[in-house]
């Protein structure tokens, strides 16, 4: 049939071109938006269906350690810690299929979501043959079992999803992730209140957790571990410790820890930058993480998916220089940094002498990291003689960290652990960025 063959040959290139475009354009069954270098990265699905696999893998710590973890990853994708940040709209019918690649049963709980079904029936605690509680919710069997959870996404807000099985061990091993429920019709509001409006380009996730490497080594080597000896040594935001927290999302040296924690904003301005950043705190650990952002307060607007409001809808949000989420709790805050004094080297100079280099500690260890100029965004040409600006573009950096200060270390080494930076660019932005 040469004529058909010829016709096929004529059509085929067009079909293939279309197919290639289709593959590139049409989203997969679950997809991440074009990966931003920092900020919250959503995994979304047009059908609100997600397929996660619980499996083992390795993460690295900044001090050179490699830790065996369990985590949820996209089925068919690579291991990642923490689990993907699932984003759905309030009221959506959500399906999460859990595949279990671990050698023991596991599960997912969705605290804050009501009427969760497992395999079409209400998800229920499980008991072993002796009648003892063996899981807080319906499990996927060990070694390639699976279970399908469905629920209707509840109120807008931030939620954990986490293992409900052998919880002390499986939580510590890393089986948790974030569920973000977005406000229907208002993707730029944390919840239904207009005063929860934020700048969607500046939305951040702080998934807080800790690791006792001895417990992980015991699990990796299938040894028993005495949990009375539990002593955490690594403290993490989004599965990373400082300075990995300030590395970009999907940094190539952190293949299994895709989420960074750098905050990158510009000063508040009523005209040009009126909307605050949104930070979603999740405590996935078993102790409080008292988190202290330097430089500016944050307004606590919601906790556990509930807006801070009175029964009559009046605002009960409040300002904090320390956010102290309890285990399992989530807290959402709005943050801005205002240029309160507008220091300007020519018209409004800082009213104290600037330090000379020898009056700062630049050793042992050049401890300081001062740009030499306190003037936001001023270039060398603008600064008076002798003052230089050694930053990229005169930006500011503030630190944000756990104030249980032993948690702001990498195994005791300071300026590490549960810590990240807040970068404040000049009002006009940072040229060359």
């Amino acid at each position: 049939m040469p004529s058909l063959n010829r016709a096929l040959r004529r059509v085929a290139p067009f079909a293939l071109v279309a197919a290639i475009i289709g593959v590139l354009v049409v989203p997969g069954p679950q997809s991440s938006a074009a990966a931003p270098t920092d900020g919250l990265e959503c995994e979304t699905s047009p059908s609100n269906s997600f397929s996660l696999t619980a499996s083992g893998g390795y993460i690295s710590t900044p001090d050179g350690n490699s830790i065996y973890m369990w985590s949820y990853g996209d089925t068919g994708g690579s291991f990642q810690f923490p689990g993907p940040t699932l984003c759905v709209e309030s009221g959506a019918n959500v399906t999460v299929v859990l595949h279990n690649a671990l050698s023991e049963p596991t599960s997912i709980m969705f605290p804050g979501q009501n009427k969760v079904l497992a395999g079409g029936k209400p998800a229920q605690p499980e008991n072993d043959a002796n009648g003892n509680l063996s899981s807080l919710t319906t499990t996927a069997a060990a070694n390639n079992g699976s279970v399908t959870y469905t629920f209707v996404a509840g109120a807008p807000g931030t939620y954990l999803y986490q293992s409900g099985t052998d919880v002390q061990k499986q939580q510590q091993m890393g089986l948790f992730g974030a569920l973000v429920v977005r406000t229907k019709g208002h993707p730029d509001q944390e919840n239904g209140r207009a005063d929860s409006t934020f700048d969607p380009a500046h939305e951040y996730l702080y998934m807080l957790s800790e690791v006792d490497p001895d417990a992980h080594l015991a699990v990796e080597r299938k040894r028993t571990y005495n949990w009375n000896n539990y002593t955490p040594r690594y403290f993490m935001i989004n599965g990373r410790s400082m300075p990995d927290t300030i590395a970009p999302n999907h940094a190539e040296w952190l293949p299994n820890q895709p989420y960074g924690a750098l905050i990158h904003i510009r000063p508040y301005d009523e005209q040009t930058n009126p909307r605050p950043a949104l930070i979603r705190y999740l405590n996935a650990g078993t102790t409080n993480y008292p988190f202290h952002p330097h430089g500016s307060d944050e307004q606590l607007i919601a906790r556990d998916g509930h807006p801070a409001q009175a029964p009559d809808g009046k605002d009960l949000s409040y300002s904090n220089f320390l956010i102290d989420p309890a285990p399992g709790q989530t807290v959402d805050t709005l943050m801005t940094w205002k240029d309160a004094e507008h220091w300007n080297s020519a018209t409004n100079p800082v009213p104290v002498p600037l330090p000379q280099l020898q009056d700062q500690i630049v050793g042992p260890g050049t401890e300081t990291w001062f740009s030499e100029s306190p003037y936001l965004g001023e270039s060398d040409a603008q600064l008076p003689p002798g003052v230089v600006q050694n930053n990229q573009c005169g930006e500011y950096y503030h630190v944000a960290h756990s104030h249980a200060l032993q948690q702001a270390t990498n195994f005791g080494a300071s300026f590490g652990g549960m810590m990240t930076l807040i970068r404040i660019d000049p009002p006009a932005g940072c040229p060359g960025q």
Partner: protein, 432 residues
């Protein structure tokens, strides 16, 4: 202790100019510039600003303090065999050296106190805090810098935030002046941020509060003392008492004195302090300012507490409104409770507890939870009594109510002594 009301006017400033300015610089050794070209001093000319101003001079150094001697020993760490007379615990800390001559400042080396000098400023005042690093008398091998981090200062710029890794720290023998123009009244704290897990644990922590502009009576409420610009008098108080809550891991203090290294993730505190003292020392009176001669001679003062000058005893008359300023710079959460008196929490983290639309969000409670790095402003009305009556204020986390795990009561506990109306004279300053 020094609860400094902000001096109005310029006379004090004029007096201090020579001390915190020129004389402060005079103790500096000639340094060498590293990495960049030398530049002239005093690049920025002080701006002409209409605000009142105040200047404070702090010194950072090490020293020795005392925990109660009847607490069980923690061999070999506590009591520390290297300790001076009347002391048993090695610390780092601040001293208020405002107005001292350079020689007097230098003489404060090795005389750190815990908790740090209590600082208070009026809102919209230009504040200059000069920090001099006197070095560590016990550890000449260490070249640690020190900084002042005004914890919670809103819209800070890095230069004055005191995080060495992000701005600067002050090397031994030098000083640096921080500038603040506080716009937000409330209860803050300050601490050194140099290797903060160590320097905070070692004792470089103190209370700091900002008094609201409405105190002057021009903002719709009568002149008086208020915690915030509440506009309705709901944060008015007659007496105020501030509490810096810390935890002391004796083992780490010993290691710092004995040139050993700590793994800070092993943190396991042995003493739990209010203003640098543990119960029953908390109820003893304030020690006089930095005068060991006076302290030694006056039987009212315990020479053991010479470098822990701040009392936590609360005294008030029936019916008076008492403001408790609580701040926690330990590494654990605590729960401050008072039996028999209702507490109204009016502020958190130097913020009045009201929604953005003004909705009141005060909480009436008997237990105030407070996490590391948090502050709370709590007001209570002293109950009517016809004779002196004692109430206890303590940490409901009972682990924090012992001294090194010993028998009896210790740790974060103090007394509220309520007297019949008119017994006590008006309060002279916080914690008096």
């Amino acid at each position: 202790m020094s609860d400094r009301a902000t001096p109005r006017g310029l006379s004090r400033r004029a007096i201090l100019a020579g001390v915190a300015g020129a004389a402060g610089w005079a103790i500096l050794p000639a340094g060498s510039s590293v990495g960049a070209s030398a530049r002239p001093r005093g690049l920025a000319v002080p701006a002409e600003v209409p605000n009142p101003s105040t200047e404070i001079h702090l010194a950072g150094t090490d020293g020795w303090v005392s925990m109660p001697g009847d607490a069980p020993a923690i061999p070999p760490f506590w009591p520390d065999p290297l300790a001076r007379e009347n002391s048993n615990l090695y610390v780092f800390g601040f001293r208020d050296v405002t107005g001292m001559s350079p020689d007097e400042v230098t003489a404060q080396r090795g005389k750190a106190q815990i908790s740090a000098p209590m600082l208070s400023f009026d809102q919209e005042t230009d504040v200059k805090i000069t920090l001099t690093n006197l070095g560590l008398s016990m550890r000449p091998d260490l070249t640690d810098g020190h900084t002042v981090h005004w914890h919670g200062f809103q819209n800070a710029i890095p230069l004055f935030d005191g995080v060495p890794e992000l701005s600067i720290s002050v090397p031994i023998g030098r000083d640096f002046t921080y500038f603040y123009r506080p716009h937000d009244p409330g209860t803050y704290m300050y601490h050194c941020h140099f290797e903060d897990v160590e320097h905070v644990q070692m004792g470089m922590t103190g209370m700091l509060f900002v008094r609201p502009v409405q105190n002057d009576g021009t903002h719709g409420v009568p002149a008086g003392t208020y915690a915030y610009n509440c506009g309705d008098g709901s944060t008015r108080y007659d007496r105020e008492f501030a509490f810096m809550m810390t935890e002391i891991w004796a083992e780490s203090h010993y290691r710092d004195a004995h040139i050993q290294v700590n793994d800070w993730t092993d943190f396991e505190p042995s003493f739990f302090a209010l203003n640098g003292r543990v119960y029953p020392d908390t109820v003893k009176p304030n020690a006089p300012d930095f005068d060991p001669v006076k302290a030694g001679a006056d039987a009212r003062y315990d020479p053991r507490l010479q470098y822990q000058p701040i009392s936590s005893l609360i005294t008030c008359n029936s019916g008076e409104r008492v403001l408790l300023r609580l701040a926690n710079l330990g590494y654990r959460n605590h729960a401050v409770t008072v039996d028999g008196i209702d507490l109204t929490v009016v502020g958190k983290d130097a913020g009045l507890l009201r929604g953005r639309d003004g909705t009141p969000n005060y909480q009436v409670t008997n237990t105030v939870e407070i996490g590391p790095g948090e502050s709370r402003d709590v007001i209570f009305e002293a109950p009517a009594v016809d004779r002196p009556t004692t109430f206890l204020l303590y940490d409901r986390d009972y682990v924090s109510l012992t001294n090194s795990g010993g028998r009896g009561y210790g740790g974060q506990m103090t007394e509220i002594r309520v007297y019949p109306t008119g017994t006590l004279a008006p309060q002279a300053g916080a914690n008096t």
